[in-house]
Symmetry: C2
Subunit: 216 residues, 2 copies
Amino acid sequence: MKSVVFLSGGIDSTVTLAIALQTSEVHAISFDYGQRHIREIESAIRVAESGRITSHQILPVPLFRFGASTLLKTSPQEPRTEAASGLADTYVPARNTVMIALAAAYADSIGASTIWVGANADDYEGYPDCRPQYFEAFNLTLERGTVSKPTIQTPLVNLKKAEIVGLGDEYGVDFSNTWSCYNPKGDFHCGQCDSCRLRKSAFRDAGVTDPTLYAT
Amino acid sequence: MKSVVFLSGGIDSTVTLAIALQTSEVHAISFDYGQRHIREIESAIRVAESGRITSHQILPVPLFRFGASTLLKTSPQEPRTEAASGLADTYVPARNTVMIALAAAYADSIGASTIWVGANADDYEGYPDCRPQYFEAFNLTLERGTVSKPTIQTPLVNLKKAEIVGLGDEYGVDFSNTWSCYNPKGDFHCGQCDSCRLRKSAFRDAGVTDPTLYAT
């Protein structure tokens, strides 16, 4: 059974990859959408090289032309370092919709039956395109609009980051290959942005050794 | 009210544009997805320049990396010239899904409430991503997964090509700017491919003068 796995190089997609590898032949896909932290693509390549995947491709996506999100390198602002409520300033309009659409095109081309996406419970509030009812609707869209009718699987969608780290640890994931930081300092995570803070506390709460190099 | 209009340079999208212009500020979007008939993008530019649209952009989409469709220039085969039943050999996997996703990203960025797509009744059989129930499911996806919750409008979805030509004629559409041919001979339509045959018969059945230059 073939599957397509979103691989961003972060913890969530890396753990999702480990799960997908249990049952399927994995074709990984990463996206260069003009993100500020291009460093994550390097991590995606490292993760892919360390896994037993069948293929890995990196697709350019012209989202940067639209973006107001601080995650995009075209934004004059850096992402906020404090947690905020409501819509995240790192929201990239319809990002998951675009990525899932491209993954569906790929899946429909190679006859893959599953698209694995590492969305999780921490993303609910800030990102409408990370919620279970969104993925349900998209599955219906793909059932009606493609030939191979791939289904989106989100095994982490009800898990918090600490639970995901714990699960990845059970699967033997090497977290040193993964990347989370929005404001990298070379090969170091900044240790202060939203994403770094979430990463730090996830390892601590999971009781798993954190192999990350933090600048602070 | 802002809207995003798919503009391929063909008859359907050009008539849809004329309808959208009645009620909204139009931001047109065209896609360079590696199609064999790149000539259609030139036509999209001509149509855009002749209309009262607010902006027009052409987005590169990396669909050609996946494609088995004869519509893609990476295919060794030319499109068939005879009508076929079942899935069209010109089917590009999940093409509309990818294009609508990108249009949604754009709409969500500029706060547009509508995405206009020129799908029509002739496309039902060969293209699963041109059917009303597909667009319904995608609307639900966008309602759940975006901030501006744009809705897809398909005013031609129940019309045959001849009816669309008739409707465009009522709106004063200049059909000489539009393009249909899969196998262009310079600035001439080949006159023989599926798409040219459909175009010819549509003008004839609609009783509208056909301004197209055909090679045969």
